[in-house]
Amino acid sequence: MAKTALQFLHNGRDVAIFVDGGTNLLVALRELIGDMTPKFGCGQGGCGTCSVLIDGELHLSCLTLAETVAGRSVETLDGIKNGPNLHPLQRAFADNFAAQCGYCTPGMLMAAKALLDRNPQPSRAEVVEAISGNICRCTGYEPIINAVLAAASGGRARA
């Protein structure tokens, strides 16, 4: 099977892999690079568990043809910590008990990061909109919304 060479920035690090035709970015990240933080939830674009940032924009890695990220920057949950320190969103999710089974958490955090990167002080409605493409089956969303709002106001307190 013919493979295509693919080079891109993975959480700030240059990576090069060979992909089969039609391989999606989720498979490339998990099986070829070994970054298990994005999860498979549906492969249909309906659940958001595979969410990553491509050049800072929220994308679904399961619907992204891997070779389209050549030369671009791909950020996953694995890259949002600052060294050993948790990202404020990670801390806020923990403090607000915003995870139960934890499976939607990576995608939720990426969706929330995409929001706060552009809009550091969102309203509740904006938070709801930002996570609307991500399914959580455990929490009822309330603690997740609260966590994102807390991370936003925490950022303001520190600024």
């Binding site: 549906c42 008990f97 089974c101 934890g102 938070v127 929490t139």
Partner: protein, 340 residues
């Protein structure tokens, strides 16, 4: 267009553990030479918080800080048998097994400490901060770490414990149904407030108020997770979900998360919860289990609230806008009931 508000209630109870019993769970607890404990389970944490709640049970029973306990789950080579995570059996069954194992391990730990302090084990107590001391004489103390080192390298003792919990299997009388289904029950009552659009049949949740009695809230934050998430699932079952929208005709089944309906983050409503604790005589520290029962009162409370709002009874789940609209049309329009 008119939107009508209504309130409805439901009260329920729920049996804890596998029906009729016969569902054992085991646990092993052991310490390392630093006085840190590992709980080995084959039980599964699927988000409900099994690891966390058994960790607290173990720490409380041993008399050590929770940080000194780590719970390892879901391994058939290292974890002893457990029936599984279902039927609200995690906290009650596995919790009891962990408690029994921790009690046995504590016995050895206290014996080892007694030997080091040259006193009778019955005269010792733990301070919950990692020390064991003589009752009434806190200065005659030894750390769990030093006890563990002494037990391991000097006394040749294993600070460890085994635990099993089994409610024996009971039989059922086929004629009368006489049986012993469960040893304890959790309880709940929930008030739902809805708003119904009488032109489209759409139902919006306005708020929920509830009281849940679940033995003991071993960890209130975990209880809150279950109750908030479970009530959301209850709303979802009441108004949205089904893989067979035209049941019993097996057609148009949803294939993805757009076709399978569950309330989104924009559909949720405030939920004010009270937790009551009437300890179960056979529960670990009196705990029952909130995981399953939390969704159940929501479904009928929502149905009853819809009746209160527009005067129609929908006895078919899920209560879709179509069913509400058909019923409103059949009765010749909305008939709001006395507001309560």
């Amino acid at each position: 267009m008119t939107r009508h508000r209504g309130r409805g209630i439901a009260s329920v109870n729920y049996p804890i553990g596998m029906n009729l019993g016969g569902d054992p769970s085991q646990a092993l607890v052991h310490s390392n030479p630093s006085g840190k404990f590992t709980v080995a389970l084959s039980s599964i944490d699927l988000g409900q918080g099994m690891k966390s709640v058994t960790r607290q049970i173990c720490a409380e029973t041993l008399g050590v800080p929770v940080e000194d306990v780590y719970v390892d789950t879901a391994d058939s080579d290292t974890g002893p048998h457990c029936m599984g995570s279902f039927a609200s059996r995690g906290t009650h069954r596995v919790g009891n097994a962990v408690m029994a194992a921790a009690r046995e391990a504590r016995g050895v730990m206290m014996e080892a400490a007694a030997e080091e302090l040259e006193v009778n084990a019955a005269d010792l107590e733990t301070d919950g901060r990692g020390n064991i001391h003589v009752k009434g004489a806190p200065h005659r103390s030894i750390s769990t770490k030093d006890v563990a080192i002494a037990a391991q390298f000097k006394q040749g003792k294993t600070i460890s414990g085994r635990g099993i919990f089994l409610v024996p299997l009971s039989d059922v009388d086929p004629e009368t149904g006489e049986m012993s289904p469960a040893t304890c029950y959790a309880h709940a009552c929930l008030v739902a407030e809805v708003e119904v659009d009488d032109e489209t049949g759409e139902v919006d949740m306005v708020r929920m108020d509830s009281a849940y009695e679940l033995g003991r809230a071993l960890n209130p934050r975990l209880v809150e997770q279950q109750l908030v998430g479970g009530a959301w699932m209850g709303v979802s079952h009441a108004l949205y979900e089904t893989p067979e929208p035209f049941y019993p005709e097996p057609v148009h089944g949803p294939r993805d998360f757009v076709e399978y309906l569950m309330p989104g983050p924009g559909d949720i409503c405030p939920h004010d919860i009270a937790v009551l604790e009437r300890p179960a005589p056979d529960g670990p520290f009196g705990a029952k289990g909130p995981g399953e029962m939390c969704a159940n009162p929501v479904l009928p409370a929502v149905a009853n609230a819809i009746f209160n709002a527009v005067g129609v009874r929908i006895d078919d789940l899920p209560i879709t806008p179509e069913k509400v609209l058909r019923a409103i049309k059949a009765q010749g329009g909305a008939r709001p009931q006395p507001r309560r």
